[in-house]
């Protein structure tokens, strides 16, 4: 279990990390069809947009093709037809505007934490060594893990590993974050802490976020808008704007009557989707 206290990095550190604060990217999925074998469609005329800086949670019952959707959104799979764009450009996995956090941390076990976070900077190779180090340390500070810089991934808890994975992506200053149930494998306490942490970071860095989850409360707590996915073959079932005040704090927000109303609405809709299947 994670018991470490989260440090609040000073604003100057964040300034060092995100030089230009152009904020989030606009994201658009336009009439996307997809099928693995050409006969059984997984998605049919899927449409989804995100405004710059918006936090969108994608919620769906298991088996609705969430993983397929993320593979499409990140450019790992090409759509059968239709277009997926970030700021008007067709998406590819290597696109620098795109940051991807997987369900499991996927840290490189042969590199220490600092070198894991530096990995993306080394690939682009634009910065000198010392600058890469500084940036990586600033990113680690954002997730409160400066002290772990010299450790190896297997020496960290699951929650800490996922934080390193987040820092490894944030260091590249992506304008769109794709998150595939990033906290699903963690225990409830760690997960709650990281949810708050994520909101704090997004509030400061301002990226657009697409967050996939199967947890209704997590979706409502985090998002500006929750998008419900239908069971395949289908597109989007419905959307729900989350009009809870920000900044959100776990204990206060979850006690709001509005929070309960919103989660109830979503739970009812999910039951309807599952019942119709």
């Amino acid at each position: 279990m994670d018991c470490e206290i989260l440090t609040s990095p000073s604003d100057s550190r964040i300034g060092a990390l995100s030089g230009d604060r152009s904020g989030g990217a606009a994201f658009q999925v336009d009439g996307v069809d997809f099928s693995y074998d050409g006969t059984h469609p997984v998605f049919r005329s899927l449409a989804l947009t995100a405004r710059p800086g918006e936090f969108v949670a994608l919620l769906g019952p298991s088996g609705c093709g969430k993983t397929t959707l993320l593979n499409l959104l990140s450019g790992f799979l090409p759509p059968s037809s239709g277009r997926i764009t970030i700021d008007g450009e067709t998406v590819t996995p290597e696109m620098p505007a795109l940051g991807y956090v997987f369900q499991s941390p996927q840290l490189f076990p042969w590199l220490d934490v600092l070198d894991n976070v530096r990995f993306g900077l080394r690939m682009t190779g634009r910065l000198r060594d010392a600058e890469q180090r500084d940036k990586a340390m600033a990113a680690l500070a954002l997730v409160g893990l400066e002290a772990a810089a010299g450790k190896f991934p297997h020496q960290l808890s699951g929650g800490m590993q996922q934080r390193v994975a987040l820092a490894r992506v944030l260091v590249l200053e992506p304008r769109l974050l794709l998150m595939d149930e990033p906290f699903a494998a963690l225990d409830a306490i760690t997960r709650a802490t990281l949810n708050e942490e994520l909101l704090r970071l997004c509030g400061r860095l301002g990226q657009t976020v697409l967050f996939i989850t199967h947890d209704v409360e997590e979706a409502v707590f985090l998002a500006d808008r929750v998008v419900l996915l239908d069971i395949a073959p289908a597109g989007i079932h419905s959307e729900l704007a989350i009009d809870l005040p920000r900044p959100r704090r776990l204990r206060e927000t979850r006690r709001l009557e509005r929070f309960t109303t919103l989660t109830d609405t979503l739970l009812e809709r999910i039951s309807a989707i599952v019942a119709a299947a």
Binding site: F76, E94, Y100, Q106, F108, W110, L111, F119, H154
Partner: protein, 247 residues
């Protein structure tokens, strides 16, 4: 309860059994260990031992180096391309089934007696088992790590340099160890067939002139060279990645 480790007793026990056996046999059949040691001193003093061991090591180094490069290329190609993997698998299987020493006569017809002929036998011996191990290592790399590297901006060559290579280091070390020992076996055998110096020649010549002491000296050196390389070189490389590979 502590487990008692008897590793230290292995070599003394071997020497003891050898000595007892030699006691009951004429010395021209099985000489005593100290007779072999005295023979070693004679060969050392004359400078002959260094010359023979040096010749063998030179061949081993050349053949092993070529095999390593070839195995890396084949293993990488097999890991990256499913088509190539399917194409090369039967060939690799065939070549691995043929004892490398069977190639020695052909190699000597091709290249004449000398360095190249013997080195080629070593290459054939070490290349295929190493290529298979290297390929297995590359294939064992977690898909998730590759995807993570790709979204972090790694291009094809960077994936090889920064993901495939470090992630497969445990397999690469294993491949080197397997390749070196295969090469060494083939080398000694090839030298026994067609060389005018080297440890293999030393053993073969000892057999022809009925000098069991010289044969045993050669055999001891063959074993010790392989054993020392293994524990000094390859075990050390292994220790470097142990901390994360076992995690």
């Amino acid at each position: 309860m502590q487990t008692r480790l008897y590793g230290w007793a292995a070599f003394p026990a071997l020497l003891l059994v050898w000595s007892v056996a030699a006691w009951n046999l004429p010395p021209y059949v099985l000489p005593q260990p100290w007779a072999v040691a005295a023979e070693a001193v004679r060969w050392l003093d004359s400078g002959q031992l260094a010359a023979h061991v040096g010749a063998s090591l030179l061949r081993e180094a050349g053949g092993f180096a070529v095999a390593v490069l070839g195995a890396l290329a084949l293993g990488l190609a097999g890991a990256l391309s499913q088509g190539f993997r399917a194409f090369s698998a039967p060939l690799t299987g065939l070549f691995m089934a043929i004892p490398p020493i069977a190639w020695a006569p052909l190699s000597m017809i091709f290249f004449g007696l000398g360095y190249v002929a013997i080195t080629m036998v070593i290459v054939v011996a070490a290349l295929f088992p190493m290529a298979v191990t290297v390929q297995e290592g590359f294939l064992a790399i977690r898909n998730g790590n590759l995807r993570a590297a790709r979204v972090l901006g790694a291009r094809r060559w960077q994936l090889i340099r920064y993901v495939y290579l470090p992630a497969s280091l445990p397999f690469l070390t294993a491949a080197l160890r397997i390749g070196f020992s295969q090469a060494w076996r083939a080398l000694v055998a090839a030298e026994m067939l067609g060389a005018s110096q080297g440890i293999g020649w030393m053993v073969a010549m000892g057999g022809q002139i009925g000098n069991a002491t010289q044969v045993l000296l050669g055999v001891a050196i063959i074993g010790m060279t392989a054993w020392i390389t293994e524990s000094l070189v390859f075990r050390r490389i292994e220790r470097r990645y142990r901390h994360w590979h076992l995690a």
